[in-house]
Symmetry: C2
Subunit: 337 residues, 2 copies
């Protein structure tokens, strides 16, 4: 068992190793995660959470790196979570990206971490917000969550951010692709990166048209479409200004509170599903599941009926131990040092 209080104190004092260890606990689905989250609850909402998403090759890491520099220049501490939902391996696909961000490796005000889904129960919907909370507790002013856009996952990540940047590149992430992927609905700021390439203006125009046609329901905010060449820093100041504008709008309109409520709701729901799956996979549920599977294969029943019987057979009492933590009382999994 890790001494969580000590880890948290270390993280608050800026010890990189302690922050990294807490995120590893989250990523590995440690049994101590619920306790850690209970301890971190009071820090919730202290950082500005910015999502950065887009297809592979649009320049997400270069843009993230440029944004880090801009945020650092005004004295803000920046935590970065780079997520690759398609890879079951941590770091693998993101190795190149990490190298691109290496200029910040020696900066104490920057913490960068890759996370992979690893097929965990609850997946990134459960682990990404927990990692965000670790970075908030560690006192970062801004948390950047960078995700490779692959359909549904980018929508999930967008739901977890206060402000979502959608990156496109001329010719590869055109308007129709964006519409298909559902990203027009989730982007708060659109950035056409590699704007020195042919077709950038066409992509910008297409996006603006589609954003005008689309019926956005977030009353009042018109997502700007900006151009950048992140590798040289061109346009990054404007992107940061747009992020700030969106932040001011979020606060003034009450939308920030709404988004954070929705985020909490989604997270609780994802975790509730994890708990329910665990119940199924525990002793009695597992035996019942095995028996039902035999009946389904024999053609005596169908999976839907079997699932309904299984759910009804679950005993609610199995979770009592876990529920105590929220009240500030201790549990059997109490920290030992």
């Amino acid at each position: 068992m890790v001494d969580l209080e000590q880890l948290i104190a270390g993280a608050r004092a800026g010890k990189v190793r302690d922050i990294a260890r807490m995120i590893s606990l989250v990523e590995n689905g440690s049994a101590q995660v619920p306790e850690l989250m209970a301890l971190l609850a009071p820090s919730a909402g202290t950082a500005r959470v910015i999502g950065i998403t887009g297809a592979p090759g649009v320049g997400k890491s270069t843009t993230t790196s440029a944004l880090i520099s801009a945020l650092r220049a005004r004295g803000q501490r920046v935590g970065v979570i780079a997520v690759d939902p398609s890879s079951p391996f941590s770091g693998g696909a993101l190795l190149g990206d990490r190298i691109r961000m290496q200029e910040h490796a020696t900066d104490d005000g920057v913490f960068i971490r890759s996370m992979a889904s690893r097929g965990h129960l609850g997946g990134l919907a459960a682990t990404t917000p927990a990692a965000q909370r670790v970075l908030e507790a560690a006192g970062f002013d801004v948390v950047l969550v960078e995700t490779v856009g692959v359909g549904q996952s980018e929508v999930e990540v967008a739901a977890a951010a206060d402000t979502t940047l959608v990156l496109l590149a001329p010719g590869m992430g055109d308007g129709i692709q964006a519409a298909k992927a559902g990203i027009l609905e989730v982007g708060d700021v659109f950035v056409v990166n590699k704007a020195d390439r042919d077709g950038a203006d066409v992509t910008v125009r297409e996006l603006r048209t589609m954003l005008t046609l689309g019926e956005r329901v977030d009353g009042g905010w018109v997502p700007p479409v900006l151009k950048t060449v992140a590798s040289t820093g061109v346009g990054i100041a404007e992107v940061l200004a747009a992020i700030d504008d969106h932040g001011a709008w979020l606060a003034a309109s009450g939308e920030l509170e709404q988004r954070r409520l929705k985020r909490a709701r989604d997270e609780i729901e994802a975790l509730a599903v994890v708990l329910m799956r665990r119940r199924i996979e525990a002793g009695a549920g597992r035996d019942r599941l095995d028996e039902e599977a035999v009946q389904v294969v024999a053609g005596h029943t169908d999976p839907h009926s079997a699932a309904a019987r299984l759910v009804n057979s679950l005993d609610a009492s199995s979770l009592v131990a876990t529920t105590r933590r929220g009240d500030g009382t201790t549990s059997d999994e109490e920290t030992t040092s």
Copy 2:
């Protein structure tokens, strides 16, 4: 409400429209799905289920089309489900593929259907096996399930098949990529398509080496690595022979029963999670979730504790109506004609 008995009778009589309507019910998550599945239960396991997966561009549809021809040549009826887990839209990304399979459009012994995940609760893990069962009930001898390989989803699809074909192409799907994606573990037959291109032999050799190094736990079956040029039919007879060999091995070794049990287990579990999510989203659960979200945003509690309280508050009685069906008795959602 659709008259399910009539639909099933129509499907058994070979009416394409009735088969298509049943699959649409499944794809749209109709309230009649549980009843439909209960009615189809006795046909479970009557078809040979073959999964075909691989990265975009390796020639999955061309190979599927060639396999259909080979299966038809020996008189077997073939149902095909083409799945695109990355697309929230039905048909979109698969349009080109469907065109490639068009030569079978006028053949009564072939039924081809694209399915998309549509972000349904339970996703493809819930809908693909249900669609398979429809095709089994309609009397198809072989069900081919074609999936675009994108990480986790191809593993899921493999879990749903008796025999899984993994397709690669020289230079794009090399051995290391295959190892990273976890497909070495799921493939029963490996096919290097476009084998007339440079590098085919290297890919074959790499795969064979990795398959020898990997510790496969399915006692006895050594996955063959074959070469094809699906567009001209070269090598397809050998692929079909390998599928037959694997089928014979599955039956003789008892592995077929094991796989079908595991498949049923996974399906029941996925559906149980869907049912549990529905409980959360129903009246009381929803209010509770909203209240907990407010407390989380305020920093008074954390999502893990909130999730545990939410799960414990759920009332098992809300699912009683659904459980009746498996016993052959009727429910309020009884068919009306």
